[in-house]
Symmetry: C2
Subunit: 470 residues, 2 copies
């Protein structure tokens, strides 16, 4: 309504007026790369007021972002702050990202496995979010382990060990920091383009040559519908590929916790046991899924990092590194290089001091037919392993050890899980959540769910997106 448009805008010296970009997205049009860059730099610098960003995010959530917009948003966010440059390390830089899960401790396995096979792994990880655990929270269960390294320290650890797992620095991808907090408050989290840009901008700011994405499906996944998971996976593969990073995405089952342990310290212990070359547990307590998925993901990392011709031969190299102890050695070196006391793994049980412990038993006989893994994740967080408010400390000793998997036949009174809580009072909510989350039925459930249901590489991802958009 205003011919010059400048009387309503707080950023009138800029090349665009935010109000115009809000209206454009509101009316369903696509922003070009320069317009997206304006929004992102205004979000990072604080030049665009939160209420204008919130309106734009809601318009983007409802109208959707095109593939070009998603790519532009990802790249602008990646470039919004300082970046890590692994080129000086003289090796191919590869990372893995999981879309969040319950009991997902594959990072502790794949980082040293891939590093043992000739790539470097500069892994920038996150904290517990919602019902899912956080890699940094788990690592901080190790006394002294520092997750807040400078980029120079990060580089030195990678130089020495081949991998490092740290937290995001404030200067890295400041646009995501600003936008993520705002999305959380404004109901604009669950959108494929916004999720893609948030995840990839952080990963790509680490200067990766290749990236393996583990997109969770099933009852514990952030996106519940298989179709949404496929779209997000294909979108991330195509977007990262267009940004110059060889990328594959695996859709993997999160219909039950991965492995046996979900919490902080107990997850590290499970990972280190497998890194010792110990055969996985069998029967209803099997954690073969964790070993298998870690080797598959590491195989893809090694393959995309040009250290194996196929993901299958990458898997074989990873399995060798697991069995010969070289990956374990790298992991313990990394813990030591980041200030952690690796001796705690020597007597893991002695170190484990939960405030309260309780066995959760089957309330009737039958088969474990279903697990609402999101509810199980909340149960884990409410033992004290997660936080109610951002910034709160987590209890390293809290968590849940599961003793029965989907499909297992159980007797009434048989232990289904061991709960480790900060205090006896914090056993109550997890107990109630478990009771609702686990379905025991009289007849055995149908066929087992595949661990990996679909794989996207750049070629089939781009075709999938063309078909999906049509």
């Amino acid at each position: 309504m205003n011919p010059s448009g400048n009387s309503r805008d707080s950023t009138s010296s800029a090349p665009f007026h935010m109000i115009d970009l809000i209206r454009k997205k509101r009316d369903g049009a696509a922003l070009d790369a320069r317009e997206i860059e304006f929004v992102v730099s205004g979000a990072a610098s604080g030049a665009i007021p939160l209420e204008q960003l919130a309106a734009w995010l809601m318009a983007a959530w409802i109208r959707g972002l095109t593939l070009d917009e998603t790519r532009a948003l990802t790249m602008a966010m990646r470039d919004s702050g300082e970046k890590f440059s692994p080129a000086r390390l003289g090796k191919t830089a590869v990372d893995k990202h999981s879309s969040g899960g319950v009991g997902d401790k594959t990072s502790f396995l794949v980082a040293p496995l891939a590093a043992a096979c000739g790539v470097v792994v500069p892994m920038i990880s996150g904290r517990a979010l919602g019902h899912t655990g956080g890699t940094l929270d788990k690592l901080e269960a190790i006394p002294g382990y520092r997750t807040a390294l400078s980029l120079a320290e990060f580089e030195a650890v990678i130089q020495k060990c081949g991998c490092s797992i740290v937290g995001q620095t404030p200067a890295l991808v400041p646009a995501d920091r600003a936008l993520y907090a705002l999305r959380d408050r404004t109901g604009t989290v669950e959108n494929p383009g916004l999720i893609c840009a948030s995840i990839l901008s952080k990963k790509l700011a680490a200067g990766l040559d290749a990236l393996v994405l583990d997109v969770k499906t099933g009852s514990g996944a952030f996106l519940r519908s298989e179709k949404d998971c496929e779209f997000l996976a294909a979108l991330m593969v195509a977007t990262a590929g267009a940004a110059g990073t060889r990328t594959a995405a695996l859709l993997t089952d999160m219909g039950q916790p991965l492995g046996r342990a979900a919490g902080n310290w107990i997850e590290l212990v499970e990972a280190v046991e497998l890194l010792r070359g110990t055969r996985p547990a069998e029967g209803p307590e099997s954690n073969a899924d964790l070993r298998e998925l870690s080797l598959i993901l590491a195989g893809w990392m090694i393959h995309l990092g040009s250290q194996a011709d196929t993901p299958e031969s990458g898997y074989e190299r990873a399995e060798t590194a697991l069995m010969n102890g070289s990956a374990l050695r790298i992991f313990l070196e990394m813990v030591d290089a980041q200030g952690g006391d690796a001796r705690v793994f020597e007597d893991a049980d002695a170190f484990h001091r939960p405030g309260a412990t309780e066995i959760f038993e089957a309330w009737e006989s039958g088969y474990i037919a279903e697990m609402d893994t999101t509810a199980l994740g909340w149960a884990v967080q409410r033992t004290g392993a997660g936080r109610e408010q951002a910034g709160e400390p987590v209890d390293p000793h809290a968590g849940i050890l599961f003793h029965a998997r989907r499909g297992a036949e159980v007797e009434r009174g048989q232990p289904l899980a061991t709960l480790y809580a900060t205090s006896a009072a914090r056993l109550e909510e997890p107990r109630a959540l478990l009771r609702k989350a686990i379905l025991i039925s009289k007849s055995p459930p149908g066929a087992a769910v595949a661990l990996v249901s679909r794989i996207f590489t750049r070629e089939n991802a781009e075709k999938f997106l063309q078909d999906a958009v049509r």
Copy 2:
């Protein structure tokens, strides 16, 4: 994702969580009255952060508000602050609202006309907005005229004169004050439900028994499409009716400025000339449309205020009050009661001291085929009659006097308008806007546009909405 929902919300002691109401609207569901009241009271008190309100507004803009949501929003906003109660005046309280226009000075005519015919008119008006003028800015061209009265002073003026025209007090409809400023910055202005609630909440807070709505159509209207205008008109009539105020809406032509003058002082002068009973100008400078529309609107006010059986007999009563000078007397009494120096109308030309004056001539011969009245409105504002930024002063002497109407045959060099600007520098932009806004064609334009194209009362408004929603 959070089972209790309270870790992400700033208002966790409240009956609802704003994040849930944002998601609900985002996903296209309708909020119930209690949920709407929560949003409105949080907007008025500041308890809900601006970015959450902005996200909710954008979701409401895109998904739309249902009729029930619109009614709940209107009533909650009406009740968000203090209210005026005209019941003590012992007369029916009636008001008129126009959806904004160029040269629309009907308020100065209809308020005293209706008051002269036995109703009271507690008129709470606004300021220049975008390309449209503001009733308060125009009245403040009168030396001493106070638009900021307390509710007690407002009541006293109405008691004495039968009408009063004032500005909104800070305590009246604080929710609209907060939401309107936010909508302006977040691209969420042009939505029928939000517009309806904003307009009606302010009007209904004045405790009206009846209300006449003048919804502008054509090139100068805020809503350009005839269909959108009809929908908004019907929506306002049904919503105000449901709130207990007898309401009618007239769709009227804003395809050219109303009357001859557009600005501040010069509009008052044109209104007072007609209140003197002077016959309207004829030919290309005719302002018969202004006289006619004012009498029609006043006729409806008198009718809905139970002082005439039909709008037509109300028109006749209003015309009598115009011709016998009783409306003029009321207007001048009101000016005096609000501190204004009514003597300035005795020699209007002597009082008029624009910084620069220029005649704008026809650049070729032909017929005035079209007028882009929105552009003409911007030209008026840019002479100095309007503001670039909220809070700036306006020039009471600036404006444009139009000498030719749509359909007029004009000779090259014939004056089309007289520009009155704050300074010679402020003639340039209006001149360029006029040159683009007026279309001179070789052949005469088609049939004249009706001054009033459609009328809604509660019955046909509700039927219209049922058909529109279907």
